[in-house]
Structures are given as C-alpha cells and as structure tokens.
Amino acid sequence: MLRVVYLVPLLPLAGFVTLLFAGRKLGNPRAGWLATLTVTASFVVTVVVFTGLFRLPANARSYTQTWFTWINAGHLHVTMGLLVDPLSMTMAAFVTGVSALIHLYSIGYMEHDEDFPKFFVYLNLFVAAMLLLVLADNFLLLFLGWEGVGVCSYFLIGFWFERDTASSAAKKAMIFNRIGDAAFLVALFLIYERTGSLDYHTVFANLASVGEPSLVAIGILLFAGAVGKSAQIPLYPWLADAMEGPTPVSALIHAATMVTAGAYLMCRINPILYRAPDAAHVVAIVGAATALLGATIACAQNDIKKILAYSTISQLGFMFLAAGIGAYDAAIFLMLTHAFYKALLFLGAGSVIHAMNDDQDVKTMGALARRMPITAVTFFIGWLSIGGVPVFSGFWSKGDVLLNGYAFSPALWAVGALTAVLTAYYLGRAYLLVFRGEQRWVEARKTGDAAARHPHDPKWVMSLPLVVLGALSALGGLINLPIHPDFDFLDRWLSPVFASRLFQHHFGLGGLWTFALVDAALALLGVGLAVAVWGSVSERPAFEPVFLQRAWYIDWAYDRFIARPSTAVAVETSSVVEAEAIDGAVNGFAWLVRATGRHVRKLQTGYVRNYALGLSAGIVLILAYVLTRAS
C-alpha cells in the first residue's frame, strides 16, 4: 500500500502538464475542476499511504521509494526518491487537503478572470513542487521543491502582471527568497563536504563525525534559507507585498503551505539542531522576535490581507520558536492548526473582498455579518482559533508552544504570551471592523454608482471550503490533547522522527492545567481588548500609530539604504564600467587588430622576388638556430 506514494506528487504534476497544453481548450470552469480533481485524488492517495504507514509498528514507520538516480558524479550520488515517515505524511496530508479545498474555492473566486486556466496550471505545479519538498528523501530534492514553490510563488503573485505593483511584488518575493536560497546552497555544500552525502539517512547517521562549529554553521545557513522562505526577520517584507496576488494564492501559498516549508525544514534537521544548540537558540530567538514584530504591525493595518499577512509572519515566528527550543511536535501541531485557520481567514477575506467590489480596506466595510452569515461565522471561528480561545484548535497548539517555551526560558514565554494577546486583539479588530459595527459602505439598491456594493454569501464552491475549514479549525485541536497521555495522538505519531531529541518539559497535570488557564486568560484578554476598543468605533488613531502602520519603517529602510544605493551602483556600472572600460577594451581590441593589420599588410607587396627574399631570410634564420644547437 505504501508503494503508491509516487502518485502523490505525480498527480498534480500530471494535472499541470495537462492544463499546460489543454487548459485553454478545457476553459472555464472545466480546467478548474480538473485541477481540483488531481489534488483531491492526491489527497486520497495520501490518506491511503498514511493508513499503510499507520499499520506498521511504531518503530518501523519509515519507507523509502527511490525512483531513479539523478546525479552520479564522482562521490556525489543523489537519487530522486520519496521518504514516507510520520513527519512527511503529516505534511503531505494537510498540504493536499487544504490545497484541494482552496482549488475548489478558486473555481468560484477566479470565475470572472480571463486567465482562468492559467491560474490552475500554476496552482497544480505549486502543489506538485510542495509535495516534492515534503516527501523528498534527500536535501537536493527538497531544494528542488523549495525552488519550485518559489518560482510558483513568483508566477502567482504576479498573476495580474499588468499591474505594476503586482509584478514588482513578485520580483521582491523572488529576490528575498533568493537571498535565503543562497545560504541554503552554501549549507548544502557544507553538508556534502562534511558528510559525503546529501540524503537524510546517511547525513544524519554521520553527524557524530562532524565538528560542532560545522554543525552550527550548517544549522544557521539552513535557517537563513528558512528565513527567506518563511518570512522571518530580516527577510520578511516580501510577504506583505505578496498580497498583490489573488486571495486563494495568499491563502494557499503564503499562509498554509509554502511559508511553512521553512519550519518543516527546521523539524527535518532536528538531529543537526540537537547537536548544535547555538544554532537552535538563534532559531528560537529570531522566531520569538519575529512573532512579536509581526503582531505589533498587524495591529495597525487597514488592508485586510495585510493584517492576515503580518499575522502569518507572527505565527510562523511561533513555529520557529518551538522548533528552536526543540519542541518539534509543538511546531508541527501549530503548523497544522495554523493551516486550517489561516486558510479559513484568507478565504473568508476573499469572499469579503469579492463582495466589496475588490476593495480591501477594512475602514470602508462594516456590518457584513447580517449579509454574509456563513462567511461571518467561519471568520469568527477563525478568529477564536488563532486567538487561542479554548477549546478551538489554536488554544491547544499555541498552548503547547507556550508551555514548552516557558519550560525552556520564561523570557521567551513572556514574548510569546504578549504576542498571543496581541494576536487575539488584532484579529478581533479585523473581525469587528469588517463584520460588525456601522455600515461604512453604500448599499447598491439605494444609489446606482459604481462604488455601491451588494454583499452576499458566495456560492457553494466558495462557501463549502469555508465551512470545512471552519470545522477543522474548531475541532482540529482534538488530535493532540495534553490532558492525558492517551490523547496526544500527534505527539506519539511524530515521536519516531524526533526520538530523544524532543524537548521534554516536566510539568505534571497541575502544571498543565495552570498553563491552560493562563492561555485562556491571555486569549480572553485579547478578545476583550478588541471588543472594548473596536466594538462600536471604527476610528481610533491612538491605537493605530503611524510607525506601526508603516511597519516600523523597516521596509523603508531597506529601500533607502540597500535598494537605492544598489541601483545607483548598477547605473554607474552600466554607464561607466560597461560602456567605457569593458566595451572600450573589446572595441579597443578590435581597433588594435585592425591597426596591426593595416601595418602588417605592407609586407604583402605582391612581388614574387620579395617573397623569395623572405623565404631565403627564413632559411638563414633556421640555419642560425641549427648552428646554435649544433655547437
């Protein structure tokens, strides 16, 4: 049963190829249904493989399927192969599941777009690349998937490339990603040099012979790659701009799947991080800092998608915090529940944006709950989940992270706790401004102008995913309840992957209950703040300071101190160095050849006697040489 795992990435890839050639012929909406079908089929296969893996005994849950040898050069031997183990199957399961729901949603969302088939071409390719990433059994294949999702991110952010903002946002995402990828590559070189291989099994088996400084270097370089992909400090500004893409893209790529690849990588290299605690500490600290930074910025944003984008940055910070302290299962748990509720929130935001004639400013919305009940209820569930209100999924997953955080370092816990409060607060602000309060938009019936809106719940293709994700967000926490050792299914499922490297806290039942209560209190504090501040009023300048709206001016600083000087250097180089030095050298060389020719040409007099003289002179020279050698 495990052998069919090759279908998991291959089905979306087949969908990509089919839609590439026949997408336009299939048209709207059949292309979308085909794409959704391939991803759903992939999800079904994933469940089958998952079951097959589950049937194996706990200590034997690892299966490798090698397709073929990819590189065989000297000592470097890389195969294309898939690794089926609890971690990769967990990732594959929620990637395919959430992707299938978002594909379904996109059929409705992109209905009026003239490039409808192209959208699904890219989406399917993305899913295939992401699955390659999580199922790979070696670092190079993971990197292939890594690059693949980066490329698809570029395509999809710039889907409406006629818009300048969209195409430059796509470029920005690519550039920031690339910086991380450069570090990733150096890490790959280092891994190969130190261990002689790139596949997980061999590398992790040989770690004992690698010195700690090298391991710290590898860990930090791989984390730098993750920083680029998962939008942590300092490579995060691209994620906010990436909201230029269509909302399903934001939901799928920039919330549920691609950006989680970095956290997945950290969990996958847990043997390395275990042996390089310095690197792990860096991961944790950067993650915590990013969590707080993202949360603060989200408090003052007016674009609904930007609120969610900074929220994603913040939640990813939590995941890295968990991975950095060694609580890998908590990181994966948070990743899973985050996929559910963040996708839910984005898809809900998409419905709202559709209803508001593509306006994304929360300040021009309000009182939509009556008009869009399904959207409002699911968004509400999403808010409570991300806020960490019991008993929604976020409560359990974020609680797991905070629990381990406190056991590791109370300082980190404090940062996390503050972030948790802010999370509940800013998302509450978003919900209240959009769905509650006064109606700040013009009803379509009353006036006939273009700014008038006619909000309503979307069709079933868009509402069904919302409902499903809502259910998952609400109930997803049940897979890993800490209250009893029999209920932490996810932890036990993932434990073979992490083994003894997992961080162990030593809180008894009493400690667990205390933390539960504290988490609940923090969540309710945030909720209460939101209601108090934004329940009825829509303008509160004191709570939306400019520096937060401008994201602490960090992006401005990047532009001012890095982008502009680089552009100036480029202009200078092209006009001076290129035009004068390089072109001058090349043209000068040509001039030299021509000038030499002009002079050497004079040797060709045309007279045979001159040529005979040249011949004789040559003979004399050769004889002279022979003379010198002979004597």
Binding site: R601, K602, L603, Q604, T605, G606, Y607, V608, R609, A612, L613, S616
Partner: protein, 101 residues
Amino acid sequence: MSISASWYLTLAAVLFTIGAIGLLIRRNVLVMFMCVELMLNAANLTFVTFARRLNDIAGQTAVFFVLVVAAAEVVVGLGIIVSIYRRRPGATADDIHGMKG
C-alpha cells in the same frame, strides 16, 4: 697539397649562393631560371663529392635522377614562360603583383 672533400663542398656552397642571389636580384625570367640551374648544379656537385667520400655509388645515382628531373623541369618551365610571353611580351617577374595587399 692535398685537396680534401671540404674544398669541393665549399665550392658547391659558393655556387649555390651565387645562384640564390641571382634568383633574388634578376628580373628577367629566363635568367632567373638559369640561376635555378646553377643551384641544381651545386647540389649535384655536393652529391658526387659525398659519393666519393662515402665510397658509395648511390650519390652518383642521385645525380643521374636530378639531371633527368632538371631536364623535365626546364621543358615545362620554358613552356610556361612561352605561354606567358604570348600574352604579355616583355613580362618580367615584377609584372605580376596583383596580390598586393
């Protein structure tokens, strides 16, 4: 006094040089051809000298063949010169300089 082979060889070298210089200096095509004959004779003299020194008849055989080939060469060369002269009477070696760069 005794005449050794080196005298003959010196003489042959001198003849060859005179022939070479003549080839380079004269413009009349037929005189140039005659200088070539001079050079061939110098070579013949060298061959015969070495045949004598090494006590081997092969040197003289070589001269025999050189003689035959020189004759054939003169025949064909003069035929060419005649053809050239038909088109351009009074042509010299300097009249063909079309390949001037």
